[in-house]
């Protein structure tokens, strides 16, 4: 107990030295080797009020992404496409640094980078969000909430967004001659049966439909500290790091983003190649986790039916 208290005090007073002692042993304060990411889980359909949702945990870092669909009139420039609007929130409960009266600067960076990755990878074909050309289309509101901010938020936010899109189902709708979009109700729900039989309305989709997703982007944040490369840093580690490099790759190995927002160390070509290599490994890992989780999700769905 005494030695534990001493270690805790040492960490508080000399955080750098504390961290360096671990690194010199080739390990990190949480016991991981430098190149290993924390254990990652994905839970699909966490929120039933959303049309698609996913809860992602990378170690303690927890993010919840929800997508809600609303009907809009397509723009004149793109009469055959819907759109995606994203927000990223760090409510004050997620971290001691987040206070109600001020926005953390991470929020604007994360939302921009997540949208950049989704667009650059071509994850969602916005034409699939069309209901009726020139009349109606879906706008997918993607809201990502950080529930526990323990580092590498961009990685987790992107994973949550991708998983929420994988979970998203478009409800069956029809369009009446006035251009209004109405839900197609099953017989059991009664009520609108008479309207449902209206021959003049155009039924667009009868069944709930999933999106056909394009290439999925996978992100890995790598911290730089005195020549060490630290994969998936925690909040505690991020506070000490000199800079971070977030590499995003898709399944085909294309580079979707290489994001290094300044910081006190500059990187060389060789270091960039190292980061890409580490990300390749993590991308394979994430792909497998997503596939396994969605398999489990389907199995559960079958059982409950």
């Amino acid at each position: 107990m005494d030695s534990q208290l001493e270690a805790e005090a040492f960490k508080r007073i000399y955080p750098e030295e504390y961290f360096q002692r671990f690194l010199s042993e080739g390990t990190r304060p949480d016991g991981r080797p430098l190149g290993r990411a924390r254990s990652t889980t994905i839970g699909f359909g966490a929120v039933s009020t959303a049309d698609g949702s996913a809860l992602v945990k990378i170690g303690s870092t927890t993010l919840l992404a929800g997508i809600k669909l609303e009907v809009m009139t397509p723009t004149a420039e793109a009469p055959d496409a819907g759109k995606i609007a994203a927000t990223f929130e760090m409510p004050p409960l997620c971290s001691p640094d987040a206070r109600p009266e001020r926005r953390l600067e991470e929020t604007s960076v994360v939302v921009q980078q997540v949208m950049n990755a989704i667009e650059s990878a071509g994850l969602v074909n916005t034409k699939e969000l069309l209901i009726s050309t020139g009349k109606a289309a879906w706008v997918a509101y993607l809201d990502i909430y950080c529930l526990d901010a323990d580092g590498s938020l961009l990685d987790a936010a992107l994973l949550a967004a991708v998983a929420a899109f994988a979970d998203l189902t478009l409800p069956p709708v029809r369009v009446n001659p006035e251009g209004h979009v109405l839900p197609v109700l099953s017989g059991a729900q009664g009520g609108n049966l008479r309207e449902n039989g209206d021959a003049s309305s155009e039924v667009v989709t009868v069944e709930r439909r999933k999106l056909t997703l394009g290439a999925m982007p996978w992100a890995a944040t790598i911290g730089l500290y005195k020549g060490h490369l630290i994969v998936d840093p925690t909040a505690e580690e991020e506070a000490l790091l000199e800079s971070t490099v977030t590499t995003i790759l898709d399944e085909a190995g294309r580079l979707i983003s290489l994001f290094k927002p300044g910081g006190i160390t500059a990187v060389t070509t060789a270091l960039i190649q190292d980061c890409v290599e580490l990300t390749r490994h993590r991308a394979r890992e994430l792909k497998q986790i997503l596939e396994e989780s969605s398999q489990e999700d389907e199995d559960e769905g079958d059982e409950s039916q």
Binding site: D250, L255, G262, T265, A266, T268, A270, L271, V276
Partner: protein, 247 residues
């Protein structure tokens, strides 16, 4: 258009920067200022400080750097907020902040016109303004944007990398890479050796192959030397003008 397929719409070759203009000391109330233009893209930056900071925001160990990004018109959107943060962290790489504990340095960026490569232009302008304000730095920054033109544009071979793209080229590109490089090699490598200009900041848009990114990085390195040479030349001229007033 040109009969040769190797020229761009504005007559430049693929590997050619736009003409640069740098004016210093335009703002009298600021401690340093610079207006940096790359043809159609133009940014004015004012630097204030080192100055007092409110006690709540000061850092006992180093100067606090703050960046204010003012768009050409309207109010700040999420894009501008992101640019503000990226620019601040980029400048933190070169400013010797520990020399001014408890102080603050404000960098105010006013976008005058955006015709592509805006973030690069702003980084170059901010660096020139910091020099003008006499803020000690570890080295100079040079920022370059490169567009990867879509292959079906008819540009063959390696010619599809367009240096310093205009807005039109940028919007039509398959991908863009914006890099800020530092001239003083203090780069960290895994084996301790150092090489040319190291990457302080990298942002990308669109998908590309790793090799394409690395090629873009090499081109940016080359171009950054041109930008640095220009920045030093314009500084020399400004100083000579200072020494010989009225000539």
């Amino acid at each position: 258009m040109s009969s040769q397929g190797s020229l761009r719409k504005d007559g430049r070759t693929f590997n050619q920067l736009r003409g640069m203009v740098c004016d210093r000391g335009l703002l009298h109330r600021a401690d340093g200022s610079a207006k940096w233009s790359q043809d159609g893209t133009s940014v004015l930056v004012g630097v204030y400080g080192p100055k007092n900071m409110p006690p709540k925001r000061e850092d006992p160990e180093k100067a606090v750097l703050e960046v204010l990004w003012k768009p050409k018109s309207g109010i700040q959107g999420p894009e501008e907020r992101e640019a503000e943060i990226i620019l601040r962290r980029t400048l933190e790489a070169v400013v010797l902040a520990p020399l001014f504990p408890r102080a603050g340095i404000s960098v105010v960026v006013q976008v005058i016109h955006d015709d592509g490569s805006l973030l690069s232009c702003a980084i170059n302008a901010a660096c020139a303004a910091l020099v003008d304000a006499g803020i000690p730095m570890t080295g100079l920054l040079a920022s370059v944007t490169i567009a990867l033109a879509k292959r079906d544009d008819g540009a063959g071979g390696g010619a599809h990398l367009q240096l310093d793209p205009t807005r039109e080229e940028q919007d039509g590109a398959q991908a863009t890479v914006c890099l800020a490089l530092e001239t003083t090699p203090k780069a960290a490598t895994s084996n301790g050796s150092v090489e040319g200009e190291a990457v302080v900041t990298s942002t990308t848009r669109g998908a590309m192959a790793i090799e394409e990114y690395l090629e873009a990085l090499d081109r940016c390195r080359m171009a950054s030397r041109t930008i640095n040479a220009f920045a030093r030349l314009s500084l020399d001229k400004a100083q000579r003008r200072l020494e010989l007033p009225g000539t």
